[in-house]
Symmetry: C2
Subunit: 389 residues, 2 copies
């Protein structure tokens, strides 16, 4: 996959991952670029998040520097110094200011950065920068991911290309993983921020692998206008097409994250319809998607629809249990809150597939939404029982 | 373990459990007894909960009839009829009114009751009633429990004896399982209700196996005054001793539930200190206890303290991450939100034990609390992936 015009990227192995796989990456715009971001809402925020928030607030950026293998979170004042040193090192190599560099880290929490290796990695990554370097960058940000995640879409004035990492500690109310987006389309900052906010709401904020929110998550979006088009403004007739392209890229990456969920054997689409409004639909879908018990049942292809209702009942939504219909694998197993006419055996067969559907009609209104999640498998536990050891 | 004076109990096999194990039980007071209860806060409530709430509101009861193997939840109007039929059948056998019978069910959600088997089971259970029948009752209410759960304490004017079931779908904000308490002490209803509320707050509301709240949970407390003592009132000098006895029984049963948590290999005590108030301490402890990621790490004896901070950061508490200290297995692994002086290897060794401790000092105030939970194991998933199949 190619980067938009005026962007280069790279990924190199600096020895931060015990596996020896690539772990330092760069995404660079050769022209000044506008920058916007969305960040984790966790009160405990990693050092690079603090630094990057400050830099993004200035409105423009030349590059993102990122490492995997160490989250640089819960690392105190030394962690902040290290995150700033990553920005400084990158700025020196690119002959720009520290404030023009956005920093991201992912990996183990609470371990000081090995800055000798990190500095050497940044230098190698700067030498390796290439217009065809997107896949190398995608590889360098992987942790428990089993495959790299990239997506692209054409937009008015150019293209939008994105790269993401994430497989566990994925939950909404923030960006929930690392994602870097680049476009050569020209747009004002308000347009970029709105496009990113809308795209995130309909993608990364509608997935949940385990209900656990990370300390390091962010989505960063750089726009360098290298496509040469007229800048998009809030009144531009092609604004919608631009937003649609950004959202398409984000949805593709969000879907790839769930598809690569730690230990997952299934992708589960939890759809709520008949909610009073979007907020309610989202609360219901997320609560169901986060039910450990339901996700165990889905792992075993057990059409245990009672767990859907039990999860729904723990929301703050004042619904009437006697109006709820539930479909699992296309079969209506609950009607009016009790046993429905659907075929249990057919439901079980459908739940054996890689893609399964949980559909709930609350019969209260017209709003609907879909949240993607995974089944919960013994493999998820194995991965997370041995993460730092 | 003996029941208090004037109580009899039984447990028989009626064929509701596929295993053929005991599944219908009775707890009967031979004298009129005062009755109070605490019920699940799940919006979806099982039919027996609806019936029992109505009966408890009348203030007195002669018996609890309970079945395992079928939760009689999400069973519509037929479920309500069936729960009432269980009360009627029991009342006829005990020669009392339907309203004097409390009904409880536990097991699979969404399946109609087999009332032929249930009726026959109630009749057998009535014949089997015995002053030594507590253990039989404890056995008859087990589902995924691997062992029966009973506890007793002496109180002014007699004793308090309790029986409970629960191993999964355990979370606070309600009673979180079935628990029946009986005392031959004499007390007014306000005293009973307050003793039960306080005991529940310090026991069943401070445990969490999986953060999933059931549709069927309740704690029922019968007091028949057969001990012959002077009735306890709100001003009685022995009131505190009575409440302490009730709380002791509830804490023992709560502890037994966590000790028998589905698939658990460890009992985890999550203690928060330095919180501003009890509510805050409880929110923090429960959020940490419900972190799937932390519970995986503890399963693998991985001293991954960053997951403690990451979970804490998702609460609404406005704490300062740079003031947080974390101990795992007695070792201070985080100090001021960053790496602490504790020994990682010693922490790992301590986490290999059956009983492990997670201690967080928020350094904000003087409130503290402890929540009990389990590690999350592949066995938990196996149990819950095959529950209805």
């Amino acid at each position: 996959m190619n980067l938009p015009q005026g962007f280069r990227a790279s990924g190199v192995a600096a020895g931060l991952k015990a596996s020896g796989r690539p772990d330092v990456g760069l995404l660079v715009s050769d022209l000044p670029a506008l920058a916007v971001g969305v960040f984790t809402t966790n009160r405990v925020q990693a050092a690079p998040i603090e630094v990057t928030k400050r830099h993004v607030r200035r409105g423009s950026a030349r590059a993102v520097v990122v490492n995997a293998g160490n989250a640089n979170a819960c690392t105190g004042s030394q962690g902040l110094k290290d995150a700033r040193a990553m920005a400084k090192e990158t700025a020196a190599l690119l002959k720009t200011k520290e404030q023009q560099i956005l920093v991201a880290s992912t990996g183990v929490i609470g371990v000081p950065m090995d800055m000798t290796k990190t500095r050497a990695g940044i230098a190698s990554a700067a030498e390796a920068l290439d217009a065809g370097g997107l896949d190398a960058l995608a590889g360098a940000i992987m942790t428990t991911d089993t495959r790299p995640k990239t997506a692209a879409a054409d937009v008015p004035g150019g293209s939008v290309v994105g790269v993401a990492k994430g497989a566990g500690m994925i939950a909404p109310e923030m960006a929930t993983m690392l994602c870097f987006l680049a476009t050569d389309a020209s747009a004002d900052r308000g347009v970029l921020a709105q496009a990113l906010q809308r795209a995130t709401a309909s993608s990364f904020n509608l997935i949940s692998v385990d209900g656990c929110r990370s300390t390091n998550d962010c989505v960063l979006f750089l726009a360098n206008g290298a496509g040469g088009g007229e800048p998009l403004t809030a009144e531009h007739p092609e604004l919608q097409a631009f937003e649609a392209g950004v959202a398409e890229v984000c949805r593709s990456l969000a879907r790839q994250i769930v598809d690569d969920g730690e230990g997952a054997t299934k992708v589960v689409a939890v759809t709520i319809k008949g909610a009073v409004n979007d907020r309610e639909a989202r609360e219901a879908a997320l609560r169901i998607a986060d039910s450990v018990l339901l996700r165990c049942a889905l792992h075993g292809a057990d059409p245990n629809w009672g767990r859907v209702l039990a999860a729904l009942g723990t929301t703050r939504i004042p619904f009437d249990p006697h109006l709820i219909d539930v479909w699992l694998g296309g079969e209506q197993l609950a009607k009016g809150g009790a046993l429905g006419p659907g075929d249990r055996d057919k439901a079980r067969a459908a739940l054996l597939e890689r893609e399964v559907e949980v559909l709930v009609d609350m019969n209260r209104g017209d709003a609907s939404t879909t949240v993607l999640t995974n089944d919960l498998s013994p493999e998820y536990i194995r991965i997370n029982a041995e993460y730092t050891t």
